[in-house]
């Protein structure tokens, strides 16, 4: 059983989704319970896999799907990095399903089972993307993620449908570019197994110098960048996260972009290899793009009044952090980028959960929703403050540690623009969040506008008190910021060991 743990990570949400759809008639509670069980199974399989990875001789376990040996068959290659990412996916999935119960009854009352089924499918897709070692299988799984997220976003308010349509267009272009890149790689290497391709590129200099491989590399990078909303290609993200249902954005905002960043790292280190990637001319381009993304994302975030749109632009900036860190070509920068995948997932998750509670409680989604909230909901605001402080990068939280590694990587690589952008972004985050804290501490609640903003009938159903399940999920997310921050030594040691294994 234990040797099948890697595939269980993907299979249990997949089967859970099917089971949810088969038992639609049993109602939403049954769907919720099935979804919780499926995600809990996935999480325990992921943790078991991490345990096995850490004991494995080279820190790598391989799982052959259906017993077909690579390069013909599809293989899962699990090392410390992607087992950590799958743990993050499974836990975030579990908590957001726990959290979603109360808001889904209000936002998507008639479609709850479908909502859980899509969320589970999205989880299956994301963990598959993280684990697979087959370039084409990766494309199919990326499309599974995309299709489910289009559906999840479109379940939101009026504008969500339009946001979802734009995401369909951009997402399809991105995935198609990736697919084209795989095609060009296949022309030259005749293989789809990532390690097989890397071996061929590393062994053969004329192959590595060929224009076809370069085209493949650029196309795959462009595709992945579109999917992760790197700055000039970020257009779909803020609207999609601002107008989608609370549960959708709570799961998608932390995980989807982060998993795509992992895919980028995987394509860089796993498919093309360190020597090829950092020897190419594209390293500078990517690093400059990341710098622009950080600055632009921060500035846009500062100018937004809608809370979730503001957080969306912060994600655009954070994507810049990770891309920049990965392209410093140093071990510290790459460690920082991968550590930031985890810590940023936890931070955005915490913030989106807290904001979701606040939006539900006040019925408002602009910054004025925060006015005087410390008197009214002190616990939720505490969670929001923890998330905000971690975004700024205060020491005991994980946000500090990841910035530390990223800055270290930037300095080692001599990429000062990246270092400066990181510091500017921290400052902007400080302004951004302290502006909100100030509102929450010192302003008075406008009770009148709170009453008139939604009709009294709806106000009765909309949470007068924060439901316990929502609060528990948000509290665990906030606690995880400290856990990830305090155990940073273990995490970075594992990540470094896995990176050494990938020749970095």
């Amino acid at each position: 059983m234990a040797e099948h743990a890697p595939v269980l990570i993907v299979l249990s949400p997949l089967l859970g989704a099917i089971l949810v759809m088969l038992t639609v008639r049993l109602g939403s509670v049954a769907a919720w319970v099935i979804a919780l069980v499926a995600t809990a199974t996935s999480a325990s399989a992921a943790i078991a896999t991490l345990g096995r990875v850490l004991q494995a001789p080279e820190g790598v376990i391989r799982y052959q799907l259906g017993g077909w040996a690579p390069p013909m068959g599809i293989e899962y290659r699990v090392d410390a990095i992607n087992s950590l990412v799958t743990i993050a996916i499974a836990i975030v999935g579990f908590l957001s399903i726990l959290y979603t119960r109360s808001c889904a009854t209000i936002e998507t009352p008639s479609k709850q089972p479908q909502f859980y089924a899509l969320l589970l499918l999205l989880m299956a897709g994301l963990s598959g993307v993280t684990l697979t070692n087959d370039a084409f299988n990766l494309y199919v799984l990326i499309e599974i993620c995309s299709l489910t997220s289009y559906g999840l976003i479109a379940m939101g308010t009026r504008r969500a449908v339009l946001a979802s349509f734009n995401y369909v267009i951009i997402g399809t272009i991105g995935a198609s570019f990736y697919l084209l890149g795989v095609g060009y790689l296949y022309i030259k290497t005749g293989s789809l197994n990532m390690e097989d391709i890397r071996g061929m590129i590393a062994a053969n200099e004329t192959l590595a110098a060929s224009a076809t491989i370069e085209v493949a590399f650029v196309l795959m990078m462009l595709g992945v960048w579109m999917k992760m909303a790197l700055f000039p290609l970020h257009g779909w993200l803020p609207n999609a996260y601002a107008y989608s249902p609370t549960g959708t954005s709570a799961f998608m905002a932390p995980m989807v972009t982060k998993v795509m960043v992992y895919v980028m790292v995987r394509v860089m280190l796993g498919v093309f290899g360190v020597d090829y990637v950092f020897g190419s001319n594209w390293a500078n381009v990517a690093s400059v793009l990341a710098t622009i993304a950080i600055v632009a994302g921060s500035v846009f975030a500062l100018s937004r009044r809608d809370i979730r749109r503001m957080l969306g632009y912060l994600i655009v900036a954070e994507v810049g952090y990770m891309v920049g860190g990965a392209w410093t070509a140093t071990q510290a920068g790459m460690t920082g980028a991968i550590y930031h995948i985890l810590s940023d997932a936890a931070m955005t998750f915490c913030l989106f959960l807290a904001v979701g509670i606040i939006i539900h409680r006040t019925g408002r989604h602009r910054l004025d929703a925060f006015d005087g909230l410390f008197q009214k909901m002190p616990l939720t605001m505490t969670l929001f403050v923890i998330g905000g402080l971690s975004m700024i990068g205060l020491p005991p939280t994980c946000g500090f540690i990841s910035k530390w590694y990223l800055v270290q990587g930037g300095i080692e690589a001599g990429q000062w623009h990246f270092v400066v952008a990181l510091l500017i972004s921290s400052l902007v985050n400080a302004i951004l969040f302290f502006r909100i804290f100030e509102r929450a501490f010192f302003r008075d609640i406008e009770f009148e506008s709170l009453e008139t903003h939604h009709d009294p009938e709806k106000a009765a159903t909309v949470l007068k008190k924060v439901p316990l399940s929502m609060f528990i999920a948000a509290a665990i997310a906030a606690a995880s910021l400290f856990v990830i921050g305090i155990f940073n030594h273990n995490l970075t040691t594992w990540i470094r060991a896995a990176l050494v294994n990938l020749n970095l």
Binding site: S146, S164, V168, I169, I173, G183, Y186
Partner: protein
């Protein structure tokens, strides 16, 4: 051969790759520049079909046939299979590479489901905004019409 003729020859020899590029650009243009959402989706389909054309072209070899071994050939092959070297009739270069084609079966399925989902979303856009023209939708978003009757009664 003069350079111009050589260029022309190399273009005509690889004409399917040129067609794929042209189709892809048409699709990309439609997706980005068209105002009507359905036209955007038509562009998306053209774009995906272009990639399928590309993949199918990869697998084709000159003078090769479909990758199915005929029963007669197989029987002959099996009867001749006495030693390691004695397999004269089945050569890989006689058959097209089936793998890219199989990959495209998956990609076609993905493309169809994307299109289906996108059409469903476009329908919901029409229900919500009463229009499929992007500029009219944006106009409706910024200046909502005061008392608007539902689009389809």
């Amino acid at each position: 051969m003069s350079p111009a003729v050589f260029q022309l020859a190399s273009i005509s020899a690889k004409f399917n790759y040129w067609i794929y590029i042209i189709l892809m650009m048409i699709g990309l243009f439609a997706m980005i520049a068209k105002n009507n959402l359905i036209k955007k989706l038509i562009g998306m389909t053209i774009f995906q079909t272009a990639i399928i054309l590309f993949y199918v072209s990869i697998g084709v070899k000159e003078g090769a046939t479909i990758p199915i071994i005929e029963y007669e050939t197989l029987k002959e092959y099996n009867s001749q299979k006495t030693g390691y070297g004695a397999k004269p009739d089945i050569e890989p270069q006689d058959y097209d590479n089936p793998l890219p084609h199989v990959l495209m079966l998956t990609a076609i399925v993905v493309g169809v489901s994307t299109l289906g989902l996108a059409l469903a979303i476009a329908q919901r856009v029409f229900d919500q905004f009463g229009s499929l023209e992007e500029d009219e939708i944006l106009e409706e978003l910024t200046h909502p019409k005061p008392a608007k009757e539902p689009a389809n009664g």
